[in-house]
């Protein structure tokens, strides 16, 4: 077994304890009702098979009266509701872009590595909630696929897969998305982690395919700080990391037009995906993962 920098097993190196500790206090809530066997925070049409008591909480107006523990009321003359740690049969599909462009990183952390950590964190979170997690990596086609499973050993398989990723070729987001959308039989949660360096229309079409199949979609748009700010000073030949072709450019001249084009694309994604009911989150790979993740989950929590 490989070991990571901290001496922990390598498949666990993405699971920073500090990140996990904070994630443990947050709840991932799907906004839409998904198929599942267990009732809980996910508003499932199927009442749960297993309910594991977690804690008592004082009744607040609006709480479901069926959750009031009358025995406790009899003893203490106060209303308490029972909180349960829910289980669900939600299938969560993690789609990670491993195209060559994801190998770019100006500050040591490539977008692929950052995306891997993000996927691992989400997989751990899903697994802890007993959600079935699937992992699919792709470039212009699907390069690896792990089917959804809620078993703890499956998490380990996902982490091993994430740890052994190899950069692929050109980005073609739409083709794998359409393939996956066709292959998903149940409604679930689709998490796309990509730099989205593809035709925006094709990307949005692919994601709409998932929405058409009833799945919830979250998009993590990863961009390197250098891509966000274009900090270069001297004239240089910029080589396409995927295609290998070069472009002579003077940063002082092209910076603003480049940033305009980038922000136009980001705004387009926000608008198009928002209108399709798809969550979009721009992630700067210089931002600590835990902050980015918490920021997103907080946003989701408030949205509920």
């Amino acid at each position: 077994m490989k070991t990571g920098e901290s001496g922990r097993p390598s498949e666990l190196r993405f699971l920073d304890p500090a990140v996990l500790a904070r994630l443990g206090t947050l709840e991932l809530k799907a906004r839409t009702v998904v198929e599942g066997f267990l009732s809980g925070l996910h508003r499932s049409p199927f009442k749960g098979f297993s309910v594991e008591f977690a804690e008592y909480r004082q009744y607040l107006p609006g709480d479901d009266l069926s959750t009031i523990d009358w025995k406790v009321y009899a003893r203490s003359d106060r209303y308490y509701v029972k909180k349960f740690e829910e289980e669900t049969n939600l299938d969560c599909y993690l789609l990670l872009d491993v195209s060559a462009s994801m190998g770019y990183g100006s500050r040591g952390v490539t977008k692929l590595r950052y995306g891997s950590m993000l996927a691992a964190s989400l997989a751990y979170l899903m697994n802890r909630q007993r959600d079935a997690v699937a992992l699919t990596t792709f470039d212009d086609t699907i390069t690896a696929m792990l089917p959804p499973s809620a078993r703890p050993s499956h998490l380990r398989s996902i982490l091993v897969t994430l740890d052994t990723l190899v950069l692929g070729k050109r980005t073609d987001v739409s083709k794998p998305l359409h393939l996956l959308a066709d292959g998903i039989s149940k409604r679930g949660l689709v998490v796309l982690i990509s730099d989205l360096l593809d035709e925006p229309e094709r990307v949005v079409d692919g994601l709409r395919h998932f929405r058409f199949r009833g799945s919830d979609v979250i998009v993590f748009h990863l961009l390197d700080p250098a891509e966000l700010t274009f900090p270069f000073e001297r004239a240089a030949r910029f080589r396409d990391i995927e295609l290998g072709d070069e472009l002579m450019a003077v940063p002082a001249v092209v910076r603003q037009p480049y940033l305009d084009a980038l922000h136009q694309a980001i705004d387009g994604y926000k608008q198009e995906l928002g209108s399709a009911g798809i969550d979009y989150q721009l992630m700067d790979t210089s931002t600590p993962l835990e902050f980015a993740l918490m920021s997103y989950l907080s946003t989701r929590g408030r949205a509920r």
Partner: protein, 621 residues
């Protein structure tokens, strides 16, 4: 034609630094770094620079850098535009034709024109040709070119002048015309000995000087002076021949004959012809003779009869006794009325009691004594000097230098102190100064013997115009705001020298006082070429200024002297100029460069180039 020259051409070597950016551009072109980048799809939407356009900009950048370095080198080399045909190739022949009064002898000028045309015709076919006429001024009558017909026509049209001969000025002007060419100057002249002027001219080493000598008259009679003394017109006739002569001097006023006076002249001698003017108060007076063998131009002389033109001189003496200003008074009263002097003497103590109205019509104050000069008198003296009128300060026994120094503090900086009695002589330091105009150099001034003299200590701003034989200043000129001050380092009353007994005393005192009075009392007598414009080119009485003041224009008396030098003597005079020619040329070039200050524009252009380079370089990254 004009050409660009450089005062310090060695700095142009610095322009070689322009090769550095060129070499870097050609051999050390920096390859742009290659940066791997992912978001190329957005970069492609930006207006990335095309290689061809970038190459053009790089070339423009290179040109700006080269221009900046070249301009810097050029600015240090101090460029100037020379007013000659600089940069032209090929040899040249320049003909200098003497048109002065000394070629006004019978047939002389015709011969000069014939010689000049012969020289032009016989000039080597490869030579460019130019023709210049010279007298008091040098004029280019045919510019340097291959147009010989034009040069011949210009010489044919040339007319006789009445000005003085100025060889050096003419040679210098001709040398400028060469503008770096080689060739020869052919001087068509009568070789008049007095024609060497004080202007330092220079002929380049690669230019030879040839002389086409024109024969002149062996004898000459000339009217060299015409003045008004005590109601008489006095003409001086000079005999420049080795044999005696007799001549009639004809006086006229405004072309109306007044009378004729016969004079007899010894060989080389002169004689005065005196005629009473009677009740005549004003007019244009002329005195003429009928000499047909000598120069025609000097046969007549003019003067203006104008009582208002008399210069008022106030002598300041110790006690006011007539003997204290006797010699000055006698020197001035011989010329009264028009062009003369009004003299008055006053004691220093009496001067102190004068009011400003009493000084209103005084042109010059001659300070011969200061004993008894009170504070009020000192203030009057300062007011007088500051009013733009003239002061003649003599360092005689009755003048206390400390008193004058204190009185004129802030106006006159020249001071003097006593020194031991030593026999000294006196010679002009600047023979061209108007004070020494009548002497034609040292003349008889060298005969003045000084037994005692003051040691004058002039400030740097003062001009020493005469020195004693030991080199110390004898006559110093200092300018006040509007006026002039002359400090004479001895007395003028036969105390410390025999100057008043010498023939030079009278013209010296006259000219000195006229010079001091000239800002207030403009001159009434000029020589040909002194006045600006065509009016000053012909002898006669002309009107000058807005008020139409009448002045006399006469032939320079030195032109009347027919003595000639040999061609060798003329050539030796030029060869003496050779040594200083380069220095003179450089001084002239320096002056020209200083006036033009082209280096400032060079530096300005360099700064603009650097600014443009900075902007363009920033765009190119």
């Amino acid at each position: 034609m004009f050409g660009l020259s450089f005062l310090s051409p060695l700095f142009l070597i610095g322009a070689a630094a322009a090769a550095v950016p060129i070499a870097i551009h050609l051999f050390y072109r920096r390859a742009e770094p290659v940066i791997e980048f992912a978001a190329m799809r957005y970069l492609r939407q930006a207006p990335v620079e095309q290689s061809r356009r970038r190459r053009l900009r790089e070339l423009l950048l290179l040109a700006l850098r080269v221009a900046a370095l070249t301009l810097l080198a050029c600015a240090f080399a101090r460029p100037y535009v020379s007013g000659s045909a600089a940069g032209l190739n090929g040899a040249a022949t320049i003909v200098l034709v003497d048109t002065s009064a000394s070629v006004s002898g019978p047939g002389q000028f015709d011969r000069a024109r014939e010689r000049a045309t012969d020289v032009i015709r016989q000039a080597p076919p490869t030579h460019a040709v130019a023709a210049l006429s010279f007298g008091p001024a040098t004029d280019v009558i045919a510019s340097l070119s291959q147009d010989r017909a034009g040069a011949l026509a210009a010489v044919t049209r040339l007319k006789q002048g009445a000005g003085a001969t100025r060889y050096n000025a003419a040679l210098q002007r001709a040398a400028e015309e060469f503008g770096g060419r080689s060739g020869r100057i052919v001087v068509v002249t009568d070789l008049q000995e007095s024609g060497w002027d004080a202007v330092d001219g220079g002929v380049p080493e690669n230019v030879s000087v040839e002389v086409e000598a024109i024969d002149g008259p062996a004898t000459n009679l000339a009217v060299t002076s015409l003045r008004i003394e005590g109601g008489d017109a006095v003409a001086v006739v000079q005999n420049y021949s080795p044999r005696p002569a007799a001549e009639q001097v004809l006086f006229a006023v405004d072309d109306r004959r007044l009378g004729a006076v016969a004079v007899t002249l010894q060989p080389g001698g002169n004689a005065e012809a005196r005629l009473s003017l009677g009740s005549l108060e004003s007019g244009a007076l002329s005195a003429s003779i009928g000499d047909r063998e000598g120069y025609l131009a000097d046969n007549v002389r003019y003067a203006v009869v104008d009582p208002e033109s008399a210069i008022s001189v106030l002598a300041l003496t110790a006690s006011g006794r007539p003997s204290e200003s006797l010699y000055l008074e006698r020197a001035l009263t011989v010329v009264d009325g028009a062009g003369g002097f009004r003299f008055k003497a006053v004691s220093a103590s009496g001067f102190s009691s004068l009011d400003s109205r009493a000084l209103a019509d005084v042109d010059v104050i001659a300070v011969l004594g200061t004993r008894g000069l009170e504070q009020r008198g000192r203030e009057r003296l300062v007011e007088f000097a500051r009013s733009g009128r003239g002061l003649l300060l003599t360092a005689g026994p009755d003048v206390e230098p400390a008193v004058l120094k204190q009185a004129l503090s802030g106006v006159v900086s020249t001071s003097w102190r006593a020194r031991n009695a030593t026999p000294l002589a006196f010679t002009p330091d600047d023979a061209r100064h108007p004070v020494f105009r009548p002497f034609g150099g040292a003349g008889t001034l060298g005969n003045v013997s000084f037994t005692r003299a003051a040691l004058i200590e002039p400030p740097a701003s003062a001009k020493v115009i005469a020195r004693y034989s030991d080199g110390t200043p004898a006559l110093v000129e200092e300018r006040t705001d509007r006026g002039r001050v002359l400090v004479f380092g001895s007395d003028l009353n036969y105390g410390w020298n025999d100057f008043p007994l010498q023939p030079a005393f009278l013209p010296f005192v006259h000219e000195a006082l006229r010079y001091l009075a000239s800002p207030q009392n403009a001159r009434a007598d000029y020589v040909v070429g002194e006045l600006a414009g065509s009016a000053g080119l012909t002898p006669g009485v002309v009107n000058v200024g807005a008020a139409g003041r009448r002045v006399a224009v006469n032939v320079d008396a030195r032109e009347a002297d027919p003595r000639r030098m040999t061609v060798d003597a003329f050539q030796s005079g030029i060869s003496r100029l050779h040594a200083s020619a380069l220095q003179e040329a450089r001084a002239a070039a320096s002056q020209q460069e200083d006036q033009q200050s082209l280096w400032r524009y060079g530096l300005l252009l360099m700064v603009i180039s650097l600014a443009a380079e900075g902007l363009l370089g920033r765009r190119l990254g």
